[in-house]
């Protein structure tokens, strides 16, 4: 008996979108973290970090979240879903708030940096730290999604 025989074909495409989005999310979060903590010859990483969040992290998150919702509606767990699903929702929804927060923070820091006001260093480091925090949370989420404890 193979897993493929267990999962109906209709689940495959939304699951593909979900996993693709999750992979891109992890990759772009790592990229954002590295960019935000980089030293760039007198320039802060705020502007570039903002673009990574806006053009990389946010679209990846949307792809992952839409795929997740689609798979869940296909599986039809209803209101009483398993624990791993709840964990996925918690990490995804808190992640959404933190990603938006990082977007705002890096946006403000980029504006300050462009006006040569300086002082964006702390904001940039906070956004970088949040990126790594999200990365750690998503590693745990990957464990929950693959091992499905309590299912």
């Amino acid at each position: 008996m193979s897993l493929a025989a267990v999962r109906p074909d209709e689940w495959n495409f939304p699951l593909f979108l979900h996993v693709l989005g999750a992979m891109l999310l992890v990759g772009t979060l790592l990229l954002a973290g590295l960019v935000l903590f980089s030293r760039r010859e007198g320039r802060s990483g705020a502007g570039l970090g903002f673009r990574v969040f806006l053009l990389g992290v946010l679209p990846s998150y949307i792809l992952m979240r839409v795929g997740a919702q689609w798979v869940e509606s296909e599986e039809g767990f209803g209101d009483d879903g398993p624990g791993w699903l709840g964990f996925g929702y918690i990490t995804a929804d808190i992640g959404a708030i933190l990603i938006l927060l990082c977007l705002i923070i890096t946006g403000i820091a980029a504006r300050r940096s462009a006006r040569a006001e300086g002082g964006g260093g702390t904001l940039v480091r906070v956004a970088g730290g949040v990126s790594y925090l999200l990365l750690a949370a998503y590693v745990v989420a990957v464990w929950a999604m693959t091992a499905k404890p309590g299912s």
């Binding site: 008996m1 193979s2 025989a5 992979m23 570039l48």
Partner: protein
């Protein structure tokens, strides 16, 4: 739903003498079932390694975009490429070894299943094209100088082409892993 749960349990149970939890029968069963089965851990690390490969490719693509758009961030681009080998090499070996282990361990999968063979071929393509893209980047760093900028040297070394091949191969592998055609 009970039938589906039973099917899932059967599919997840590796070969050999197993308890109801899918863990080896004996003293370790209680601890094992508490910590999830070997299958769960193998699958988790296999998937995590695949995520690490995708992350390495994302960093390489980011470095490529920064270089080709001449944003003045060449030093950052080069520093990003320093992380990619760790992600590619370490995760690449893990994903292959654990993938083969899973294929041998799970009832219903065989190493000679067409989708698994195709995935193995794609693994070679990813390893080869990823290594070529990184090598082209490294060569470009050495050749770039007063006469040639890094973007031109990277383009001349066909780094964007190899990077695109690696991205396509990763996408194709993901499609195989999800859709499992013929399984």
């Amino acid at each position: 739903m009970a039938g589906r749960a039973e099917q899932l349990a059967k599919a997840r149970a590796p070969r050999g003498r197993r308890g109801r939890s899918g863990c080896p029968v004996g003293r370790a069963e209680r601890l094992c079932s508490r910590l999830l089965s070997r299958y769960d851990w193998l699958l988790f690390v296999h998937v995590l390694a695949a995520f690490a490969i995708a992350a390495g490719l994302t960093l390489l693509t980011g470095a490529m975009i920064l270089t080709l758009r001449r944003t003045g961030d060449e030093a950052l681009a080069l520093s990003l490429t320093r992380f990619s080998p760790f992600l590619f090499d370490g995760a690449g070996v893990l994903v292959l070894v654990l993938g083969i282990w899973l294929a041998i361990d799970i009832d219903g999968y065989e190493l000679w299943d067409p989708w698994i063979l195709a995935a193995l071929v794609l693994w070679v393509v990813i390893a080869f094209s990823g290594a070529r893209a990184l090598a082209a980047f490294r060569r470009a760093r050495k050749t770039a100088g007063p006469g040639t900028d890094l973007a031109t040297a990277v383009r001349d070394g066909r780094a964007p082409l190899w990077n695109a091949v690696a991205i396509a191969a990763v996408l194709a592998t993901l499609i195989l892993m999800i859709f499992k055609p013929g399984a």
